[in-house]
Symmetry: C2
Subunit: 280 residues, 2 copies
């Protein structure tokens, strides 16, 4: 995350925003971030292959999968990541989007706004839920064990990652789309059938408590099936969400008003000044 944040911030030094042409900057950032992520993964030696400069992949999803896994993606994986990127692209006033708009409201440049978005999304309360969800999914050997353990944890009032959402009361409509993709991959590659069954078993237990899987839950399963390292789950979210931020920055700029709340001081009343040398 800090690498993506620094890449966008550096880009703002190298190619400063001269005219406020948000759309071009949005496309530029969307084009660059998959390469940044691929290079960084490679540099860290997780994948030994060279980064595919001049990859013939014709979509962002395809190129991103090629860059981070080092392998040309299958058609189903390419289509799955494409759908995932669309699902994550925008979600009204998430904290990161809101922070990006506060930044835009000062008429700051485009790169400052996106840097702000990335910095804010890096917090575990904004992004990061899908990393936790995959840990949960991989901790069970089969659907029976998952069902038994989750039921037990619910009795002990433990928090189960990947369920419920502040915005949705009954279900997360995005979740349906990505669950279909999980099923499609699991059907194609039987080694993933068990993981899919575990996910579905957990979902069914959670339904009894009227808790529904959010987008992150089946996305975690799907990303794992596509051989994506969990540390890249949130960075991929960033690449997708950079589109939503773009839309919000444009909207903010069109009818701008500075976001400048006032604070209510509730601290101590006026105190006597004590020189620093005399303080205990």
């Amino acid at each position: 995350m800090s690498v993506l944040r620094t890449a966008v911030s550096s880009l703002g030094v190298l190619e400063p925003e001269i005219n406020k042409d948000s759309k071009n900057h949005a496309i530029r950032i969307l084009g660059i971030l998959p390469s940044v992520l691929g290079f960084w993964e490679n540099k860290r030696g997780i994948y030994s292959q060279e980064i595919p400069i001049g990859s013939t992949e014709g979509t962002i999803a395809g190129y991103l999968l090629h860059a981070i896994t080092g392998n040309r993606p299958t058609e189903v994986n390419r289509r799955t990541l494409d759908k995932s990127l669309i699902l994550y692209a925008e979600h009204e006033y998430a904290a990161s989007t809101y922070a990006a708009r506060v930044c835009a409201s000062t008429l700051a440049d485009y790169y400052s706004c996106i840097t702000t978005g990335i910095g804010t999304i890096s917090g575990p309360l904004n992004g990061g839920a899908n990393e936790e969800a995959i840990k949960l999914l991989l901790s069970f050997k089969d659907a029976d064990e998952a069902e038994r353990v989750i039921r037990q944890r619910l009795q002990e009032k433990e928090l189960i990652m990947g369920f419920g959402h502040a915005v949705y009361a009954d279900f997360d409509p995005r979740s349906v789309v990505i669950k279909e993709q999980a099923l499609e991959i699991a059907r194609n590659q039987t080694k993933f059938k068990n993981l899919y069954d575990i996910a579905e078993a957990i979902e069914h237990v959670m339904w009894e408590k009227t808790l529904f899987p959010n987008l992150d839950f089946y996305t975690a399963a799907v990303y794992h099936m596509m051989d994506i390292n969990p540390s890249l789950f949130t960075p991929i979210f960033v690449i997708s969400r950079s589109c939503g931020w773009a839309a919000h920055i444009m909207e903010q700029r069109e009818t701008n008003k500075l976001v400048r709340p006032t604070a209510k001081y509730i601290g101590p009343k006026k105190r006597k000044y004590i020189p620093i040398s005399e303080r205990t």
Copy 2:
């Protein structure tokens, strides 16, 4: 601005925040930014001298002046910048501070929060007023001309930079302190007496409209008298404000609640999906 932003973001890659020890990170950033600014100015060739590595200046104000001007500061200049840094250090919910708190509310790391603050303060509606103020001050040859022209502009309802403040209704208490320093420098160096007189003449005309100078107005004069390039006015503000952000980040972390507003959708109702190939 984008250099400071990138420096802090990079530092977050090189020295990630492992434990949430905000105070140490705040001190680290405060220690590094004056050097970053000095090196960048030097690299750009504005000052020909070498950057004083191992400067014997014992204060941040002294070292900062040494680093950016290339010369050891006088005692009065050192004290003046010190006061200026204190005055700029904190100002409740400025947009940049608020954005930094939104970032902190997701439990993002310290470097993300400060990067967000810098990105947001870079907008002309948050920082940047003192750069405009010095342009105004230097545009007059003497106090008489300043008085005449400002009076005329007021009649034409033009906006005069450096006056009024969203938070203060009658006067900006910080302004008094920095005006005293402007007077002290002007008394020591007679070549600046004219600039001081111009500033005071403008202030008196503005009083007639019950508009008072804000902190940026005399600060601009003072920074000019200290041989500071106007392009560094806002970056110096950032170095100072990093302390205020630190306090807010700590406060946010102590009793955290995610800042996540909801949006009211007022756009078009449900529309028919048209495949992209069929759109006109």
